[in-house]
Each structure stands twice: as C-alpha cells, then as structure tokens.
C-alpha cells in the first residue's frame, strides 16, 4: 500500500528552482533515504510533504488524499506526519515531558495524565525516562534529538520525516540517534530520511534516491545505488563523499 505519493512536484524560491518535476512513492513500512549535495532539495521536499512549504505545481498524496489541495486543512494533515529537524527545535521553555505531551494535550485532546504516561513510556524506551523533568538545554545534542524523535512519534504518525537529524551532532553522539531510527524501522515505521550518513543509509534504506538539482536523478536498492551507480553525477557524488 502506498502511504506517500509525490507526483511532478515543483518548487522555486524567488526564481531559483529547488524541486523540479520530482516524483516519489513510499510504500507502507518502507524506508526511503534521500541523498545528495547540500541544496539538492532534500530538505525542501520534506518541508513540502509536511506542508511547511507550499508546492508551486504537482500533487502530494497521503494515503490517497491529495494534501496539496488548498481546501485541505494543513493542521489536520500535519497531525498524521511527524518531522524531526536537523537542529532538534525542542521548545526551550518546556521540560522534556511537556515538549512530548504538547501535541497530544493541545491537538488530540488527550487527558494530561494519559498523555504524560504515554510520553514517559516512550521516553523510557529511548532511555531518557530520567530526563523527563529536565529542560532541553540540560541535555546533550544526542539526547535532545532523541527527545525530538519521541515528540514526533507520540502522535503515532503514518509517516515520519527525518531531516539530516545527525548533522548537528558531535560524532560520538550520532550512534545513539541512528540506533533509535533502526529500531523504528524494525517496528515498521514508514520513513523518508534525508541524510549525509552513507553507511547508515546503506543499513536502513529499502530504497535510496540520489537528488540532484531538485530531481531524483537515480534511485534503487542500497546495493545497486552504492555498489553500481549508473549516472556519472551519482558516481561523482559518492566518490566525493567517500573521500571525506
């Protein structure tokens, strides 16, 4: 079953084209990894899917419903999609547990104590139950990012978008976040992941898409795309990445 379907999506910022006739399907329980240079449109695609940006042309369907239709209420759509950002974007004036329970309490009308219990259970699963009462600035980057993932998961979204979630982390903290994402894959979460971590992409991806100038230039299984890329630009990109 197809959860997400992007068809001929176009997006330009002040005349510069960021997404150019881009199409992408994501099946239920599927994990699609987007790779590509900075500015290739990975983040913009994720922001468009979450309706944080409006597309200029084309359609995006979630469970068969066209969410780019202007009559659709974006707040309702976003309740079904979770997104995690590169810079965590936790709310600094709220404790960890309040960050997590905000949406259940305010959006889904869950009783505060029910929301709290569920949040604590999820925090426990990612090993952060003891940090529930802390403010985000007392946590390490890896811990903050795991809280951000829990915050996105607490609504049990149909689709989880991860936007370079390890790029702002110290190298020794990357592992704990990537392990959590691997767990999520094991539980069958449908995900679209933008990342620069190629070895991680190889491990979790069902399909890898190489974005170049707002287009999916090449896509395939991780073995095919990393082992035997067809396009010269893909080969070039992978060579440049592996040298770092």
């Amino acid at each position: 079953m197809t959860v997400l379907s992007c068809v001929s999506v176009r997006k330009a910022f002040r005349g510069s084209v960021v997404l150019d006739d881009l199409s992408l399907d994501v099946d239920e329980h599927g994990v699609v990894v987007l790779i590509g240079a900075s500015g290739s449109g990975k983040s913009t695609l994720l922001r468009c899917i979450n309706l944080l940006e409006t597309v200029d042309d084309g359609t995006i369907c979630l469970d068969g419903e066209d969410i780019t239709d202007p009559r659709v209420n974006p707040d309702k759509v976003r309740q079904r999609i979770g997104i995690v950002f590169q810079a965590f974007n936790l709310f600094p004036h709220m404790t960890v547990v309040d960050n997590v329970t905000l949406a259940p309490r305010r959006v889904h009308g869950v009783q505060p104590h029910v929301a709290r219990e569920r949040a604590l259970a999820l925090l426990d699963r990612v090993g952060l139950a003891d940090k529930a009462g802390e403010y985000p600035d007392r946590l390490s980057g890896g811990q903050q990012q795991r809280v951000a993932i829990v915050r996105a998961l607490v609504n049990t979204p149909r689709l989880l978008l991860l936007d370079e979630v390890t790029s702002a982390l110290d190298p020794e903290l990357v592992g704990e976040v990537l392990d959590l994402i691997k767990d999520l894959k094991g539980q069958g979460m449908t995900m679209v992941i933008a990342t620069h971590e190629m070895s991680f992409a190889r491990q979790v991806a069902d399909r890898v898409c190489f974005l170049d100038h707002g287009r999916i230039l090449e896509s395939g299984s991780p073995e095919q795309l990393f082992g035997d890329p067809r396009e010269p630009r893909t080969q070039q990109f992978l060579k440049r990445i592996s040298r770092v």
Partner: protein, 269 residues
C-alpha cells in the same frame, strides 16, 4: 580562602570610608554656601512638610491605583496590537496596517495632547454614559503606552526563531496555539527588561492626568506650594515618587540580570 575574605572585608571598608569622605565634603560645601539658609527654609521646611504630607499621600494613592490599572490595560492592549502586527497571511493586511499605523501615531503623539483630546474632547460629544475625566485620562494613558509596549512585544515575537514556529506547526498546532504556547511565553521572557522599563516611565507619567482635573501627588504638592509660598511639598512629593519607583526598578534590574545570565549560559553551549 582566608586571604580572599580579608580582601573582601578590606574592599568593603575602603568603599565605606570613601563614601563617608565624599558625603562630608558635599555636606560642608552645601551648608557653607552663602545662600544655604534661604534654600533650606524654602525647600526643606519641616512644618510645611508636615502639613502637606497628608494631601500628597492622598494624591499618591491615586497615582498608585492609576498606575496599576493603566499598566494592566496598556500591557493587554499592547500585546493585542503586537499580535495583529505580526499576522502573516495576506487576508489580514487591513488589520496589520491598522496595527502598524496605531504604533506610528501613538508613539509620535505627545501624551499631553492625547490626554487633552480624550479627557476633554470625549465628554464634548455628550454621549450617554461617558465616564469621568479620571477614567478618560486613564484611557489616554493606556492608548499611548500601548503603542510603545506593542513595539516591545513585537520585537520579542520576531526574535523567536522561525524553526520554533515550524516545530510547533509540524506537530499539528494551529497558528493561535503556536503563538499562545510556544512563541509568546519565550518572547515575553526575552522582553521583560524593556517592558518593565516602560512601566517605570508610566509610573511618572500617570501624574499628567492632573492636567484635566484629578489631583495627583504632584498637583497636591503644587496646591500646597501656592498656599505656603514654600517649595518643600515638591521635594516631599519627589521623594515619595522615588520610593514608589524603587521596588519596580529593583525588579527590572533583577530581571535584566537574570536574562543576561541566561543568554550567557545559552551562548556558552
């Protein structure tokens, strides 16, 4: 440790001694000046002070009540106007334009003229249920100060990074919920020092309603001055104002210090 403590004790003693010496010098220079006797009798007359303290305190009580009501009103109206000014969707352009012109007009218009127009102009309409000059004067103060306070709040709202909006909206919260639960709590904390500063200024300006009738502390002092031909009541009223302002100024300093510490802590990470 003991050395440190000795150093602290020493610096406190030096500070006390130098303050004492400076104080003595001031005292001697002023009291030995040729006009000191006349100045003392016209500005620091004990009997005049005793007879004028009651009406001045009565006026000060009016200042205080007016301050509380005007502060609450101005903060509420200012917050509302700031919210209108930060609405992004194109449909709200008229509201945004209205709020923007409001802050331009009332930051520009002299308070005294606003008080005259509202407190003396509104009753001229002879509408049923026009409130007293006191209330109208208070409304003029609220209208004017809301212009300044709106800009303080706007600065706070715009200082919150767009990623906070994105994070909140992505969770399904609406624009209003995001403003209410995410943006305003952070913005208000950030602008608390300048906000309190405006309230200290308001504390002094509430007395201006005496221009249209009500007797505040300074007006009461003025009446006493004209009865006794002695300026002591002004000194007394001034001293009361300073006393009234000290708690608010102290709170402002404390909040500013705390905000600065927090920002340093953030930057240190």
């Amino acid at each position: 440790m003991a050395f440190r403590r000795r150093q602290t004790v020493r610096s406190v003693l030096v500070a006390a001694a130098s303050t004492f010496v400076v104080g003595i010098v001031f005292y001697l220079v002023i009291t030995s000046s040729p006009g000191w006797q006349e100045v003392r009798s016209t500005f620091l007359d004990w009997h005049v002070a005793r007879s004028s303290v009651r009406p001045i305190l009565k006026g000060l009580w009016l200042n205080f009540r007016l301050l509380v009501f005007c502060a609450v009103g101005a903060v509420a109206l200012g917050l509302f106007i700031a919210t209108l000014r930060t609405l992004r969707p194109a449909v709200y352009f008229p509201l945004r334009a209205l709020a923007t012109s409001y802050t331009y007009i009332f930051r520009g218009a002299p308070l005294i003229i606003v008080i005259y127009v509202v407190a003396l102009g509104a009753p001229g309409l002879r509408l049923q249920g026009t409130p007293s000059t006191l209330v109208l004067g208070g409304i003029a103060l609220v209208i004017t100060y809301a212009g300044y306070i709106a800009e303080v709040f706007r600065a706070g709202i715009e200082s919150i990074h767009p990623s906070q909006w994105a994070a909140s909206r992505s969770l399904g919260l609406t624009y209003r919920q995001t403003l209410r639960h995410i943006v305003l709590p952070q913005a208000v904390r950030r602008v608390a020092p300048p906000l309190l500063n405006d309230l200290v200024a308001l504390q002094k300006d509430v007395g201006l309603i005496s221009l249209v009738g009500p007797v505040d502390a300074i007006r009461a002092a003025q009446i006493n001055v004209s009865e006794t031909y002695n300026f002591t009541p002004y000194i007394l009223a001034g001293a009361f104002f300073v006393l009234l302002a000290i708690p608010l100024i102290a709170v402002t300093d404390w909040v500013t210090l705390r905000a600065a510490r927090r920002q340093n802590a953030e930057a240190g990470r």
